[in-house]
């Protein structure tokens, strides 16, 4: 009989980050990629979910930097990767606010299975988080 014992001290560094920004835990499952649409108003993020380089699946949502107070009421959201739509988030039908309140968790727009297994090819039209932040002059 092997007793399970959990050494919480192993995780002190990890939870420091978690406590600063509660959504940091998502980083172990998802990597954010950004796409800026041509009219420079709508920003979408593709969250790539790599399972140890296994098949990749993408979750599409609106980035936090999106200005929700803008005047327009209708926007076309581009996924900017070739693939198949696996799911549309039906929760948005009941609670539209989710889209902006919780863009990276419950408010996602859709889930797409990319056509190319290779991430570099699949997301060639997108910017990594560092590239995006540099282009917008954020920290």
């Amino acid at each position: 009989m092997i007793e399970e014992d959990y050494e919480t001290s192993r995780y002190t560094d990890l939870i420091e980050n978690y406590n600063r920004d509660p959504l940091t835990y998502l980083k172990q499952y998802y990597t954010k990629y950004y796409h800026v649409s041509t009219d420079k108003i709508v920003n979408t993020t593709n969250k790539k979910r790599p399972l140890h380089k296994e098949t990749v699946i993408c979750v599409i949502s609106v980035s936090k930097e999106f200005d929700s107070t803008a005047k327009r009421t209708e926007y076309k959201v581009r996924a900017c990767l070739a693939g198949w739509i696996v799911e549309f988030n039906k929760r948005l039908l009941e609670d539209e606010g989710l889209l902006f309140r919780k863009p990276y968790t419950e408010g996602y727009i859709a889930i797409i299975k990319p056509k190319h297994e290779n991430t570099q090819i699949a997301l060639e039209n997108c910017l990594t988080e560092d590239e995006y932040k540099a282009s917008r002059g954020l920290d």
Partner: protein, 556 residues
């Protein structure tokens, strides 16, 4: 470590040569007291059998027709509709003497004394006086109890060093015999009033004689219920196309089709079954005109195409523990490279494969856990199907040795215990009973809120009565499972504070529940999640399976 998938190279084949004292034409002695009596006894036996099926002159006519085409004595017995296999094992010269006497009864000229066709018991045939080959069995039946037929099988058996006590036989005869025998039957029917309803097919006496010979040579019991199968396929290139003429006979309804197999054009439609069916509906006149009538002589003997020895699968089951967070259950390969060095199925499978000396193995378990999840407690039930084991029966002592070797091979990270042979009827238990199976898990959980006593109490209160959750297919498995919602039951939940932001959670859940998704919510697709219950974000840091509740291995 990799799963070996080899065939004969794998197990050291014992090289065996022909024992020096054997004479190629020497018959294998079959214990049969009746033939120490000689030809009189044989004559009595045969004539009493003939009373039942071939009355009077018919037997003489049959013997004459077959003698004209140089059929062997045993094939003659077949057309005389004799079903006593012991009679078939008599020496050829005795059988022909018996036939002489039968013909003599009808005051007709006896068969010629200078039959070139007879073998004497100890005769060694020199090429000059090579007797003619029987056109009805290509000498298969004639040599069924000679080393020609038996030795190649023995050789293969010794080479693989099977440890068995009985065997079953599966024979595939050359396709040419069908047309040849049909031709002989029509010939007899034209010259004698003979329906041919009771003519014995070649396979049955051949199997009986070959089976007895193998029994004698290898010391194994010939039994139709045996798990060890000897498959022999014979061919005869000279006659293998002799059914082609049927395509030109309209009444035969026999057509060949050309299909593509692996890119190559292949003719099909001429299976032995189809040939027999076509001959059954072909009129005799058509056969005589288009086919081979009367049966012509052959210049070559039968050939052995393949001999395949196979033992039916043996099943060994038990329970396994996985103490590492870096070992997958089955080999995990992505884009040609391995993601974990070891796997449970290989650690157990390779050890058993060596002990049972089998070609391959299939690993089946009651559910599975991720590579980074430990399997503790009593372990997870599993079984292995071992394909074509050369040593199908291992003792409990040897299985205990296997358990130790598995622990050694995995650096004590994988344990298999309660290993025992499993009867085929118990196998479905592993996969059924999904609804009634309970899974006990323990995990380390992080919460974004500070852990408080009220929170822990609230969780434990909910946990006593349990909750039902809705789980949409987790995002991490969406590429291979259908998008659907599953209702799963969390029967019990136990929470314990481990620090400001840490909880230890223990769950008793329905089989098939995605534990990790219950904790972090999977972007809101599992509701309610643990995070929902305490009103904050949660993540799972470590997960262990404590117990899989399933009675396994089964009691005898």
């Amino acid at each position: 470590m990799s799963k070996k998938r080899l065939w004969s190279d794998d197990h050291a084949l014992v090289s065996v040569g022909l024992p020096p004292e054997t004479d190629k034409w020497k018959r294998i002695k079959i214990e049969n007291p009746s033939f120490s009596e000689g030809v009189d006894f044989l004559y009595q036996k045969v004539t009493s059998e003939l009373q039942k099926t071939c009355h009077g002159k018919i037997s003489r006519d049959i013997i004459n027709v077959l003698s004209d085409i140089s059929a062997c004595a045993r094939c003659t017995l077949r057309f005389l509709s004799i079903r006593d296999w012991n009679v078939y094992s008599a020496p050829e010269e005795l059988l022909f003497e018996t036939f002489r006497r039968i013909c003599a009864n009808f005051d007709v000229e006896p068969l010629s004394e200078t039959r070139a066709n007879v073998y004497t018991t100890e005769e060694i045939i020199s090429p000059r006086e090579s007797p003619t080959i029987c056109p009805l069995c290509f000498d298969l039946l004639r040599f069924a109890d000679k080393l020609d037929c038996v030795w190649p099988i023995c050789e293969k058996y010794y080479a693989h060093d099977y440890k068995v006590t009985d065997f079953n036989l599966n024979i595939v005869l050359p396709s040419g015999v069908i047309v040849k025998n049909h031709s002989a039957l029509i010939r007899i029917q034209r010259l004698a009033a003979f329906t041919g309803d009771y003519v014995v097919d070649l396979k049955a006496p051949y199997k009986s004689l070959l089976g007895s010979s193998i029994q004698e040579a290898l010391g194994l019991q010939h039994s139709s219920g045996s798990k060890f199968l000897i498959n022999v396929e014979y061919c005869h290139p000279e006659t293998q196309e002799n059914h082609r003429f049927l395509t030109r006979v309209s009444s035969a309804n026999f057509q060949l089709k050309k299909i593509k197999v692996k890119g190559k054009d292949v003719w099909t439609g001429d299976s032995r079954q189809n040939i027999a069916k076509a001959l059954a509906v072909t009129g005799d006149d058509d056969f005589i005109e288009y086919g081979e009538y009367p049966p012509t002589a052959v210049t070559e003997r039968f050939q052995i195409l393949t001999i395949r020895l196979e033992h039916s699968p043996i099943f060994v089951g038990g329970r396994y523990l996985k103490l590492s967070r870096d070992i997958s259950q089955t080999p995990w390969v992505v884009s040609g490279s391995r993601l974990t060095e070891k796997s449970v199925s290989e650690c157990i499978g390779e050890i058993l494969r060596e002990k049972y000396r089998c070609d391959d193995y299939n690993f089946v378990s009651a559910g599975r856990e991720d590579a980074n999840v430990r399997m503790l407690g009593n372990g997870r039930p599993f079984y292995l199907g071992l394909i074509n084991p050369r040593e199908p029966c291992l003792s409990q002592h040897e299985l205990n040795d296997a358990e130790m070797e598995i622990a050694e091979l995995s650096g004590k990270l994988i344990r298999a215990h309660k290993l025992k042979p499993i009867d085929e009827c118990h196998l479905p238990t592993i996969k059924t009973g999904e609804e009634s199976k309970y899974i006990f898990t323990s995990m380390l959980v992080w919460l974004s809120k500070m852990v408080s006593t009220e929170m822990v109490n609230k969780l434990n209160e909910i946990g006593t009565s349990g909750i039902t959750i809705d789980q949409w297919t987790p995002i991490r498995v969406l590429q291979r499972r259908a998008l659907m919602v599953r209702k799963k039951r969390i029967h019990n939940l136990l929470a314990e504070a481990l620090g400001e932001h840490f909880l230890r959670i223990e769950l008793r859940t329905e089989a098939g529940t995605y534990i990790k998704e219950f904790i972090h919510g999977d972007l809101g697709r599992t509701t309610p999640s643990l995070g929902n219950l305490v009103g904050c974000d949660a993540d799972i840091l470590e997960l262990d399976v404590i117990d899989v509740e399933l009675a396994w291995p089964p009691e005898d």
